[in-house]
């Protein structure tokens, strides 16, 4: 009556085996469906064992993704996915940890954790499904929304210029930086697989259209294009490139080789210190 898969067993699962069977709440046409497809394909390509993979998220349409995957998941609170993922990976370095969410979750309320996760460089992959909007709360501007986009909360536009997540990631020390377009499942799959495989903190911004509140984003498929040059290993150069591009360059933009946080620690060592002795006087 009990099934117990050997952890060491070779894993030959198909992409569809990584789906949980839970029906997404997403609107048909939402880019997040593509991301789900790409992610399962990337995981299958990497032959990751479902029970050794954990996907952690915050709150938002995009953040619902863990429940749709056949792996360990944590649907945390809004904006705190990265600390959750950090704690998990530091405590359990044997797991593959992916953190996922939206632009509101990751760049607005969660912006500080992005800075510090990049800096800390724990070996996790952070996937942001960027639709330039708060989808789940019905369409308010996010940090990546264009300043003139009209909405109920900001009639006539916010007047605030969008910020550049990739530049922020580069400036903060992310070890792998890429941008993909959700509709490009093949490219996204490859980039995700590469990001997961790359040591340290990997950041992947996926342009993932919100068909409900941003029907204009259906046009993105005609706008994206590969970057004019291949990735660099110089963050300053990468940052400058991204700061001046049109936002629709897709592909891997930067690969670094910084030290990984928490890898030096030897784990499960015997407890050596006599704690009591130090208090004796």
């Amino acid at each position: 009556m009990v099934r117990r898969m050997s952890v060491a067993a070779p894993c030959k699962l198909k992409a569809s085996d990584y789906k949980s069977g839970t029906k997404p709440v997403w609107c048909p046409g939402c880019g997040d469906f593509h991301v789900l497809a790409s992610l399962t394909k990337a995981i299958a390509a990497l032959a990751l064992v479902p029970e050794n993979l954990a996907v952690v998220s915050g709150i938002g349409c995009s953040s619902r993704i863990p429940a749709y995957l056949n792996c360990y998941g944590f649907h945390g609170v809004h904006g705190r996915a990265l600390p959750l993922a950090t704690g998990l990976k530091v405590a359990r370095p044997d797991l593959t940890v992916i953190c996922a969410g939206g632009d509101g979750d990751g760049f607005s309320i969660g912006g500080n954790h992005l800075l510090h996760a990049c800096r800390r460089n724990v070996d996790i992959t952070y996937v942001v499904m960027d639709n330039e909007i708060y989808g789940m709360t019905k369409g308010q501007p996010s940090p990546t929304t264009a300043p003139d986009w009209d909405s109920e909360l900001a009639p006539g536009g916010t007047g605030v210029s969008p910020f550049h997540p990739l530049v922020i990631a580069l400036a903060s020390g992310a070890n792998f930086v890429a941008r993909t377009f959700a509709g490009d499942v093949k490219g996204t799959t490859r980039t995700l697989a590469e990001a997961i495989g790359h040591p340290g903190f990997s950041f992947v911004q996926i342009l993932s259209p919100c068909v409900t509140f941003r029907p204009d984003q259906r046009e993105w498929k005609n706008k994206v294009h590969p970057p004019p040059v291949t990735f660099t290993t110089d963050p300053a150069q990468a940052a400058r490139r991204v700061m001046t591009d049109d936002g629709f360059n897709i592909g891997v933009l930067y690969k670094g080789s910084r030290d990984i946080y928490g890898q030096a620690v030897e784990r499960n060592a015997e407890f050596e210190r006599d704690l009591d002795a130090e208090f004796l006087v």
């Binding site: 029906k23 593509h34 938002g60 789940m136 369409g139 093949k186 490219g187 490859r190 498929k221």
Partner: protein, 177 residues
């Protein structure tokens, strides 16, 4: 990015062609199944049924390719190693092209588009291939797709095109978190 060069259709081996053909169909089976589910979730049962039917059709097709392969073992490649003419396998229905209020007509148009691109994919190989055996196999697959195209067109004629305001939803979306 993927190698999308024009000559990509020239140098397929037979096994490669079979693998590509099989993957095209399997992807399509999955995509149609996913879409059928999504439509079911939205209560758009008519379109859901259509997608379901498409999925079954593609499954039959996949079976046929497996048969054609005989003893040849078809190992799947990492997704990015396939050589498709576009971003995606030709018959991979565009998940973004759907809408919860879409009509059967639109669903069929989508399907037709995909059958056409699959057909073009095989036709190109049939035309360009330097290997006769590969060429004729591709021709065969292309003809199967032609058959599908014909069916799609037939079905399309049965469904009226959508009204102008087909995607009009009088109600606002729901906020759920």
């Amino acid at each position: 990015m993927s190698n999308t060069g024009k000559n990509a259709s020239q140098n397929f081996t037979q096994t490669e062609l079979l693998v590509h053909a099989l993957v095209i169909e399997l992807e399509a089976v999955q995509s149609y199944k996913d879409l059928a589910e999504q439509m079911e979730q939205c209560g758009n049962t008519e379109v859901a049924a259509l997608f379901d039917k498409m999925s079954k059709l593609e499954a039959e097709h996949a079976e046929k390719i497996r048969e054609a392969a005989g003893d040849v073992e078809l190992t799947e490649l990492p997704p990015w190693e396939y050589r498709w003419p576009g971003l995606e396998p030709p018959e991979n229905i565009d998940l973004a092209g759907v809408h919860y209020l879409m009509t059967p007509h639109q669903a069929l148009e989508l399907a037709l588009e995909n059958e056409l691109s699959a057909m073009a994919f095989f036709d190109a190989i049939a035309h360009d291939s330097t290997d006769d055996q590969v060429g004729s196999l591709a021709q065969e697959f292309g003809d199967d797709e032609r058959q599908h195209v014909a069916w799609m067109k037939e079905w399309l004629a049965k469904y009226p095109p959508p009204d102008d305001d087909w995607d009009y939803d009088p109600d606002p979306p729901a906020a759920i978190d």
